[in-house]
Symmetry: none
């Protein structure tokens, strides 16, 4: 197992760990190297700079998240079930990848003027998959006729809000039950009937 992982991946993995714990600016290259159990200079054999390492790591992390969370909900099943799967996937991911979750949802610091746009667009690009999903559900009459973009934002917002207690507070909770509850709220609203 440990020799089936490429050095490139090993570095990205260690970088994710350290970036998640310390944030971009407080993470030191030496610390990432130590975490990977390699020499400082070795990182530069695979990545040209700290910034590039961060970008590569972020790109990979977002991919991992979206592959796990969004793609799973692409099957042709009722929307309500899909959203529940989405939330369930999200919670599962949060629990299993605490470091990555922190990076994806928290570490949005301004590292670099250009990186700001890169990060924002990277996220929007990934979200467009979700938006398409919503749009088709609206077209097929499963969802109310509302701005798909708005709904996407709301769902993303909810996801974005529901990782902190899990990851930061280490709360015990029932994934199944929580995702059902939240799905219900998103689908039917909070108003008493």
């Amino acid at each position: 197992m440990s020799d089936s992982i490429s050095k490139q991946d090993l570095i990205i993995e260690s970088a994710a760990k350290v970036f998640a714990k310390k944030g971009y600016h407080n993470a030191k290259m030496g610390e990432i190297a130590a975490e990977a159990g390699i020499g400082k200079g070795t990182i530069y054999e695979y990545f040209s700079s700290k910034l590039q390492l961060f970008q590569e790591m972020m790109d990979q992390s977002l991919n991992k998240y979206f592959n796990k969370v969004v793609i799973d909900s692409l099957e042709k099943i009722p929307m309500e079930k899909r959203i529940q799967m989405l939330l369930q996937g999200h919670f599962q991911f949060c629990v299993e990848n605490r470091e990555l979750t922190r990076i994806i949802f928290w570490d949005t610091e301004i590292i670099d003027e250009e990186l700001k746009d890169w990060a924002y667009n990277l996220r929007k690009e990934k979200e467009s998959v979700m938006q398409d999903l919503i749009q088709s559900a609206i077209s097929e009459g499963e969802l109310r006729d509302i701005d798909a973009n708005l709904v996407t934002q709301i769902i993303t917002g909810v996801l974005g809000a529901m990782w902190a207690p899990i990851v930061l507070e280490n709360k015990e909770f029932n994934i199944q039950k929580l995702s059902q509850e939240v799905t219900d709220l998103i689908m039917n609203g909070i108003k008493a009937k």
Copy 2:
């Protein structure tokens, strides 16, 4: 006007501007001083360090936000109307305080190991006002009988998601209409009836 503002506030204001634009680590004390039109050393007459200045600024910014946004919705009026006011206040604030908005919702970078908890708790504390509000609405039967904490998270999540397009993309939009739409979605859900 400009001489009615204390030097302390002047510095905080300048700090907010620079922190919002550059992020904590890329903001330089010299730049904040220049923005305030004072000498670099003068900042240290009012704040003991960059970190303390950031904390003071953050605290004040969050207060400003919650006072504006939450407090306005505390009157004893129907919950639906309140949420709409909350959203309207939020959007209004976003438009009028683009810099502060960025700081409050974006610049959550990990500045310092201890600051992480401080920032998280500061936010939770402010949110508790909202949670009380929700709880009482549930008690009075206006809202469905669900975990008030969950609802708070969802609403905060939605707010947290709905600033970026406004502030970062400079989108034109109708505040009144948008807040009504989002309120409707939160209250009644997204499912077609």
Copy 3:
């Protein structure tokens, strides 16, 4: 005296000393700072980089040399006398400014691709003054009718060759006598009559 010198000049002076002794690449900023009796960071208050410091120092050194050596020989006196003054000035400068001499005539290492041209042209520009001098002497019949450029090169070559023994070998010699001898050789050649 020591407080009449600006910090800028103090740094250049120290830089000249260290660059002369160690060469560009072996000179360390910390060493230059130590030589100047200031902190490492202070250098960067006056010069943006090591390279810029080197260029500034070099520019100033060449100016000092040419002002001392060439300008003195501009008076309207016989060419033979002028060349002798030139040589005398050169030797005088070598003796009095051993460090600068080394920099000007030796430390022509390739520091930077662009700097190479900069250095070469800087030198050529200064030499053009000498070339004009030669040209007018030819026009007025004092010198044989030969390519002024060639003569300039020869004289510069001789100057360039006649610093090393003085500076590197610390040889004792009679400036007056040596400059007369060399002038004689340049004017009348080496061939027996």
Copy 4:
């Protein structure tokens, strides 16, 4: 041809090329290896360090130059003719070995405290052949009775000055004519008769 050259020589040749273009400090071992078409580690099979490689290369280059330029002029022919041959050889060498020329006459950077003396003495040693030549010409009455050392310096100086335009500026010129002109100036001086 290419397999008649030893790997040692191949490396020295490549080193000369790279050192000439970049200077000692900017030349990278990897680049020299690439130029030679071999692995980085292989260089260390033949040379113990970058410094030793440079010294070996320099020694060989100077030998090549002096063999070509000085030795050719050792035959027992009139001094004037000899000097002309010397100059002609020099110019020929410059044109044919632009890289080596640069190294020999330009790249005199201070690589290492000890190397400084080594380089200076290496040059002086080679020059002693020329000095002996001059001395005998003086003894035989062909040249004026002047310090042979001085004349050597002057001739070396002229040679040292007359490579840059050829190598750096890529000037077109007539080797035959130029060497005759310069010989004339050295022999008869620049003064109008």
